[in-house]
Symmetry: D2
Subunit: 242 residues, 4 copies
């Protein structure tokens, strides 16, 4: 791939407006922080948020997007079903989808997985160590065998997802839990990656390793435009029938 894929960073963008502590960490919103490091890495980046018309995800925007990043939490229910349909169709048609943190409970992630996507959680600012399980996987490039986040929200098993095609990361928590924190799935022509870190009250998206993982995931998930799906009625057989 000569040029880097086009990324659209979607953020619910409500915590930042409602909570000064979150705004202090992410003055341009979580989407602004993610867009920032991706742009610095050479990716063409758009942002879109819940309160824009069509949540900023018009058909035109999606058709011009190779990878969609999704962060949401307190307003999952406000995302219109018609937009979820549109995003799902675009993923099946090749667009990559990267779902972050509390996006595990978003309509689009539950739609793509077919499961409840439920988990266990605790806010105790505890230490998380992220282990690379799929050694050599492109999403883990440059982060080594393990790296740490000093303060995170704990997300723990059981995590109700389909068995990942590839389990890239498993997290260790100081409080005694483990979590499948980086998971890959193929759905139609599209690639889906879930990455757990990213609670809004911690400066997770400024962490260098987190930025590497998300950047790597954008390269991995990008629409490769090799679409050859042929569906429907094929009345003529390829071989003569008696």
């Amino acid at each position: 791939m000569k040029n880097k894929p086009k990324v659209t960073v979607w953020n619910e963008f409500r915590h930042e407006k409602a909570d000064p502590a979150v705004l202090a960490i992410y003055p341009e919103g979580i989407h602004g922080a993610i867009a920032g490091f991706l742009r610095a890495g050479g990716f063409p980046v758009r942002t879109a948020t819940l309160d824009e018309p069509e949540h900023g995800l018009t058909q035109e925007v999606l058709d011009d997007t190779d990878v969609l990043i999704w962060w949401g939490h307190m307003a999952h229910g406000e995302v219109q079903d018609a937009i979820v349909d549109r995003v799902q169709e675009r993923v099946l048609n090749g667009m990559g989808l990267i779902v972050l943190h509390s996006g595990h409970f978003s309509k689009i992630f539950k739609r793509m997985m077919g499961t409840s996507c439920n988990l266990r959680w605790r806010e105790a600012a505890e230490k998380e160590r992220i282990w690379t399980i799929a050694n050599g996987h492109p999403i883990a490039k440059g982060v080594g065998l393990h790296f740490e986040l000093p303060h995170t929200e704990m997300y723990g098993e059981y995590f109700d997802i389909p068995e990942p095609d590839v389990l890239v990361f498993v997290s260790w928590f100081a409080g005694g839990d483990v979590f499948r924190s980086g998971c890959c799935w193929q759905r139609g022509f599209g690639r889906v990656f879930y990455f757990a870190p990213g609670h809004e009250t911690f400066p997770i998206y400024y962490d260098e390793n987190i930025q590497k993982v998300i950047s790597n995931a954008c390269l991995w998930a990008a629409d490769h435009k090799q679409h050859t799906a042929e569906f429907g009625h094929v009345p003529e057989p390829l071989e003569p029938l008696d």
Copy 2:
């Protein structure tokens, strides 16, 4: 398992009413034919159909069902979303789900898969040979390496499903196509099996091998009642935090 699992056979039951040729093959409905051979095999069986209240799938019925078999085609859109929600939740909680033939386009199968579940098809009464790919899998017990159906509707690749956990059967068609005709997935606590044969204008469900596969699948998919899911807020860590 000492006793055989409780099976509910769900059928749309419209083709039989609309088309005398189908009724001639299945005078008691497709559900009646499937229920018949399962009962003969010792399974406790209920049936349920689209036009019953709540499509026959009340919470009480689902709670008393270990495996749900699903056949639908011309009226997928009439299945109420609330009932689809209920069935999905019950599958995630352990009930097995066996989706037959044109059920690939049912709301519940698309819900569980997260993909379009689209495929290629042709009605030419051609020969289908079903090959056992997962040799030794319990669903293939007793059917040997391959068996034939003299006249079937062709379902061909590309089949837009998540990569199966186990690919049990691949079909060969006289007209030159192949199809992943028997596929297993785990979703939550539930097991899902898709089995392709079963066009309403052919007496597929009277075939001895087809009956073996569906009976085997009921045993394989049955709710094993080992549910230990614990989700949600766990404020107390297992290990002391500093």
Copy 3:
């Protein structure tokens, strides 16, 4: 399955002879301890050890074994290649294989996996908490979402194995590591389960949860005797060629 499967417990049986501290924990050998709880659970059990003729694994013994359990460590290199060939062939023909702890480096496990099976390790008597990742899997029956071992040898990632078909357990260690400690694979007609706990200087095999897991694994891995493999030259086509 009406009767419980026939289990052969294989142990290298050298640590017990060389180290009084180990013998004090396992006066009848590690194989004796494992055979003990399995017999108490109703399994017909044989034992076999390295220093017996043919390591106790004659063709006759293997043919009469549904599940082989393997514990080895200091003398992997003394296991004869011809016996490894024989065990591999029997697994591919349906016998279950349960590999314990340091057996990760045994000839038979490396043979079945095709990888180095290397890992990271530390002997510091630290706490291990085993998490059930494949909720509802028969191997995890009865052990709940997590259980603890107060003192174990740490086995940590990266663990060089093929991606498991099903990842049943992930371990958390007090020292900061994680490990895929319970993994399932299908190989030919045989089922393979690797289970990490079991260092010879700790009384791991007396732990109730460990005994449950190994007993469950014997039921899961047992030879199901549905062998229909047909290999080799098939000069006659099933369909007429022009």
Copy 4:
């Protein structure tokens, strides 16, 4: 990757010397034909054959190889075990391995798989149609939903391999068989691809689609040099133990 990966094409190179009919099709050997189209596509290519010292696969050659292609048939047993060890170690360390046709029974493929790799076969010059099952997979780029080979040796199920990580191609044969003809696995840091077509008495490697698949597979399997394996004794815990 800016530059194309370095490919070493290994061929047993015995049929060509023993059978004039094979030599007529492949005057420079099967390795010569494969090297030819890869070089034309811009890949740096070496060849190596059985009768060279160390079978042409010195440590130096392997260390300078990103992808190794393997064709063998009548002399699998003559490949030295020490060279098989060396190739396996290099694959686990990142080198891609593409095994062609009768290479399914090579020592190196059986080593990497852990299974018998047996199958059913028939030489009847029948038509094979190769179906793309993993739509959008990079190995299938440019070959469409299906393509045909007018005359091939039939390889049919059951094929005794571990369930592929991704099943890319399934073949339909005129004689009534199916076969998983394109399969991907990750092993250590290395990627393995098995591709079934390629009988020595047919000009398979001159086929444009076959050349596309093998070229695509070289790009897919290439050593990505992201090796971060750390194995062995790690006496110091990451977290303080009590």
